[in-house]
Symmetry: C3
Subunit: 139 residues, 3 copies
Amino acid sequence: MKSFRKELWFDIPSRRAFINITPEIEQCLKESSIKEGLVLVNAMHITASVFINDDESGLHQDYERWLEKLAPHEPVSGYMHNRTGEDNGDAHLKRQVMGREVVVAVTDGALDFGPWEQIFYGEFDGRRKKRILVKIIGE
Amino acid sequence: MKSFRKELWFDIPSRRAFINITPEIEQCLKESSIKEGLVLVNAMHITASVFINDDESGLHQDYERWLEKLAPHEPVSGYMHNRTGEDNGDAHLKRQVMGREVVVAVTDGALDFGPWEQIFYGEFDGRRKKRILVKIIGE
Amino acid sequence: MKSFRKELWFDIPSRRAFINITPEIEQCLKESSIKEGLVLVNAMHITASVFINDDESGLHQDYERWLEKLAPHEPVSGYMHNRTGEDNGDAHLKRQVMGREVVVAVTDGALDFGPWEQIFYGEFDGRRKKRILVKIIGE
């Protein structure tokens, strides 16, 4: 069994954003030389997500609006978590809806994807350095 | 390490449905001859889910009603994504709540499940051919 | 490839709770002697979650309040599932928001975590014995 590990770093200038990281994950897979196995991609921070969906800007605006409705940033005082001095209570909730991680099959050395699947980093509390983990196991 | 891959196709006649696919996944596991490892089952489309819960029709009606409340299909114009000419903006949101994939342990050649765990395909934009991926790795 | 399997049992005295199980998962990893691979931790019951977030009591109160808003326990008659004689319809919904499972990378014999990541058991229908599965594969 072979394994591969890499961290990818982000420093998103806004509080929230969705970033397509599929090319970076494909590059990791190439570096790993793994042909059959599984890729795990996970946020290493608890106010961010990794998820798979469509690279369509209208959809990303829908996600933004919907997540703000489900778990609004304001009022900041509405979250017990923010009594710690933070203002990111909402980000911990949004991340649960969108998920921490994805597991993707590796077949013949490629991400085994359907026609529209793309991997995204979902940032819900940006404006600082944060990272994701890419772990690949297989042969 | 052994690996196994299979696609399962669906053509659901309605927009939304929940289909128990546990027997098909058990059949894949048998074909793979893998005794110890992990099974990944994921939707290959971004308006569908694979999830694990109870095979109880009342619960499925609860899911249907709840997801319609969280991300209603109508009004179709309420989603920016639908400006592309699609009408499935809601399906991309519902799929995030229910999840893209499950990872299940394989022990002694069987799905290592609790008493009520069953695997479901969740369709949120049907009436066309769509598929899921089953990838098994192990020994 | 090595594999390791263990069940962890809970008997939570309240209906709902969040329990930090990171030390128990680290202990499993130690027992497994696996240095590189993946850990799967999943609820074996369909009214409970395993998820990764922050060990901060204010945040856990935010989760509790938020999940009650998204899928309230009362009125019990509001769920079709409860016509089976159960009163846990809400728990099946809450579990979908928080997720069934996490997959964590193992690197150099440790859980490969960011600074605040901790693994939680999320109970939504307690007051009885329930369990999670820990499955580790690797080398």
